[in-house]
Assembly symmetry: C2
């Protein structure tokens, strides 16, 4: 099938209805309440609700390890998760460029369906717009996510103090380097593969340690460097990372060294960064390592009293400042 | 100030943070739970939840009567409302084109703030992406909305039967014709003015009549024609509209006659179409007319037994079929 998206697919007329019926409702159903095509009714919340949204404009929309579809599911599932929520429902808003092959759209929607099922979330409401050629780069997706607050978490970065441990759940920088490689046509054997994936199980598993967990976040745009700088900036604490402890996949490492890009500033899309009391750090590490998505987890550093600064101890025994880039290293990685 | 949006405003680095702090948090605050910049925690739902989303790509993004900002608030507030919900929370996802004047962004954000306040909803979470020049047409916005289900509504189009009344809450087609006029540079005195606005009060006001209300919808893309055709298609019922009863503003009427556009297919963005038992139709009309947004409300037709067809009785005493356009009359009107 060589059909392409036409402007009329976004018009609200017959072609729109066909697209919705054949591609969206066919995959995701009609939402929890039939007869409400523009909204969903969600039942049975006992706790507070966590609500988050992200728009995805990744370029290219297909990359080693994933595409914009699973990225849009994982990204929002992760945002809800690291806010201490159990993700349950997603909305799906798509902006399509005239001329996008229907086959591409189908592939992306299949990926969305598959990853939503893996994450235990349902796509319950959505919207599709079409713009003319040259007014969008293929496809942009927005997802908004609703989850139920998990009991026990009291995440507050103001509770972070000296000697707390910094843990990441796996190799860092894979997503950013995979997208960059795809964009620039860098084809090397065993090159970087996006880590796009969900952290919802990792969050739910550490609930028993919630009292001693101060902070969790998915280090996306700006990477680990951005997240840590955001935490310590204008405070009396700092962070020191141990370069030998930071997990980095060989393919990702090669490309970042080749291009002179600081891997600490590169986005992950399936990782968690966590800060906790030292007393529970090894227990959390042990729990995480039981999951495929946590097998490379590592304690990569500590909170210290280095007012507002993030530093890295290098292999040669020195230290260097880990700053946040002012400009843009890798635009449109998510 | 002549600053413009740069790619780095979307990078997750310092310029991103400045944009978020100075333009977003400055207007909307930090969400109900501080320390969760990527999500919001929402409390105190007793009933079921209504969830809806829309992406807005209207061109031009400013038009007589509004801009993409209030459209993005009203559209989603209305989707939640016509699903029987009381809108409470909105997410705000923006895709900005490099080069967009910061002043324009500020104006749009001010409009969002103002219309959210009018509708009694809070912007609680959001996301901002920037794409290069030529990869988006100025600004695209996604809003997702959460509301609480209003007791008593049992909206189900399968309950619609012969002799039920069709009511609209005001003049139809204003939004579509206002956007078209702006796009095509049609400048006439007293020309069409977008009806972008919220119907949430109109929904909440008719709760006492809920038992006899079968259907409510905001007739956006495809207008009244699309909504009615969707209801009757493949059923044993039909709909007959009375052309003399349909409220149309003079400026909108002139332009649509000039261009030969069927006003029944043109989008409204602040109107409701309701189908109810005849017994409560006059009561609903009376209630609606008490509000500025309902002052032009009218009973425009009835459900009949004309299997799957929507017809219009014309001024000359004839009738004509009201069909749904296959293609695209007015792309990007929302």
């Amino acid at each position: 099938m060589d059909e392409k998206i036409q402007i009329a697919h976004g018009s609200g007329g017959k072609l729109s209805s066909q697209l919705i019926d054949n591609e969206i409702v066919f995959r995701f159903g009609n939402g929890p309440l039939k007869g409400l095509p523009d909204a969903a009714m969600l039942k049975g919340f006992k706790n507070n609700i966590i609500f988050s949204t992200d728009s995805y404009v990744v370029h290219p929309y297909e990359f080693p390890g994933g595409n914009i579809g699973n990225l849009a599911v994982h990204g929002t599932v992760n945002d809800v998760s690291v806010a201490g929520g159990k993700p349950k429902w997603l909305s799906l808003g798509m902006i399509l460029e005239e001329g996008l092959p229907i086959k591409t759209l189908q592939k992306i929607l299949d990926t969305i369906k598959e990853s939503a099922e893996e994450c235990g979330v349902k796509i319950v409401t959505g919207d599709t717009k079409v713009v003319a050629k040259g007014q969008c780069d293929g496809i942009y997706i927005n997802t908004a996510g609703i989850g139920e607050a998990i009991d026990g978490f009291n995440l507050d970065k103001n509770l972070i103090k000296e000697n707390d441990c910094i843990i990441v759940s796996g190799n860092i920088g894979d997503h950013g380097m995979a997208v960059l490689s795809a964009r620039e046509g860098i084809n090397i054997k065993n090159g970087p593969l996006s880590d796009t994936g969900s952290v919802h199980r990792l969050v739910q598993k550490i609930q028993p340690y919630a009292d001693n967990i101060k902070f969790v976040r998915d280090p996306t745009r700006g990477g680990v460097a951005s997240v840590l700088n955001e935490i310590v900036s204008n405070t009396s604490i700092g962070a020191i990372l141990d370069s030998e402890k930071i997990p980095v996949a060989p393919g990702t490492n090669s490309i970042s060294e080749l291009l002179g890009i600081d891997i600490l500033s590169v986005a992950c899309e399936g990782r968690m960064l966590l800060i906790c009391s030292e007393s529970v750090s090894n227990d959390i590490l042990t729990e995480w390592k039981k999951f495929p998505e946590g097998k490379d987890a590592a304690i990569i550093g500590k909170i210290n009293n280095d007012k507002g600064r993030v530093t890295l101890s290098t292999v040669t025994g020195g230290t260097r400042l880990v700053d946040v880039p002012m400009g843009e290293l890798l635009p449109r990685i998510c």
